[in-house]
């Protein structure tokens, strides 16, 4: 058990029981707020959970389930996923999908199917209407499947029209916005993990006194001018 105490100038000192900080930090990564629940800091646990998960889910909603995916190929190095992984368990299905689709396999939770049309810059990956997919009548042989949290199917090349390009085209700015929301959710959870591991960065009485003295000094010099 680890307890940190923050002495205060006036009133009671703030005491925070961190229990096992390593375990708390792991839980905080796994599920935003879980580390704080383990430390019995329920208010902060709820705050972190609601804030972080809500923007992650909202980001996924904006990006129609496609903005969190793990791909580290040459053509599509998804560095944003490294930040999104900070949100923990909610970002992990992307790894399962990446493994599943690695050698051209179909993803779990197929959102839609596409087939390539045209060639060169006029090429596009048109969505196959759901009724054709359901009936199977007139279905093309080789389709590209969009999966929930799965990387874009087919080869990705910045100089060619590809499925990733179609996502940007169809969702416009929402793709970037959704990506940003999920990235920020992951990064904010790093702050929550830090808080679970070391406790809050509360100013000690000594630091507060120094800050107040600095403020006073500043205001007196500005008054002199």
């Amino acid at each position: 058990m680890v307890e940190v105490v923050y002495p205060q100038k006036d009133g009671k000192p703030v005491r925070v029981d961190l229990r096992d900080p390593y375990w708390a930090a792991f839980l905080a990564w796994l599920w935003p707020g879980a580390g704080h629940f383990y430390q019995r800091r329920y208010g902060k646990g709820f705050l972190f959970m609601i804030c972080i998960l809500s923007i992650f889910i909202f980001g996924m909603f904006l990006g129609r389930g496609r903005v969190v995916y793990a791909s580290f190929d040459r053509g599509d190095f998804r560095w944003q996923y490294i930040c999104q992984l900070g949100a923990g368990l909610v970002a992990l299905p992307a790894i399962v999908q990446a493994i599943k689709t690695k050698d051209g396999g179909d993803p779990f939770f197929v959102l839609c199917q596409r087939y390539p049309e045209g060639s060169g810059m006029g090429k596009s990956f048109t969505k196959i209407p759901p009724d054709i997919v359901d009936s199977g009548m007139g279905m093309p042989r080789n389709t590209y499947k969009d999966g929930f949290m799965a990387p874009p199917a087919g080869p990705i090349d910045q100089n060619e029209v590809d499925v990733l390009g179609m996502w940007h085209f169809e969702m416009e700015h929402m793709f970037e916005m959704g990506t940003l929301y999920c990235v920020i959710a992951g990064l904010l959870n790093l702050l929550a993990i830090y808080d679970a591991f070391t406790g809050p960065a509360i100013m000690t009485a000594e630091q507060k006194e120094k800050a107040e003295a600095k403020k006073k000094k500043k205001s007196s010099t500005s008054n002199d001018i």
């Binding site: 923050y6 703030v14 925070v16 800091r41 208010g43 902060k44 705050l47 972190f48 804030c51 972080i52 809500s54 923007i55 909202f58 700015h173 916005m177 940003l180 929301y181 920020i184 904010l188 702050l191 929550a192 830090y194 808080d195 406790g199 809050p200 960065a201 509360i202």
Partner: protein, 73 residues
């Protein structure tokens, strides 16, 4: 003259609508930052409010600078 000016700034109205997407982010970032600096709810909310004002003000300044810079074209 006024009509052509209005038509010219119409795309800006679309961009301003996109700024609303920043609001939930700013609120959440302020709350989480406040929570890492304090332990009790009242202090967290006070710190969050200060951070919210600071971030919004900073964004407003950046917006103003970019907006004014657009006139140099």
């Amino acid at each position: 003259m006024i009509v052509t000016d209005l038509i010219e700034i119409l795309p800006l109205a679309d961009s301003i609508a996109k700024i609303w997407y920043a609001l939930p982010l700013v609120v959440v970032v302020s709350l989480v930052y406040g929570a890492t600096r304090h332990e009790y709810l009242h202090e967290i909310l006070t710190q969050s409010y200060r951070s919210l004002i600071w971030v919004t003000g900073f964004m407003a300044i950046i917006f103003a600078v970019i907006f004014v810079a657009g006139y140099w074209n």
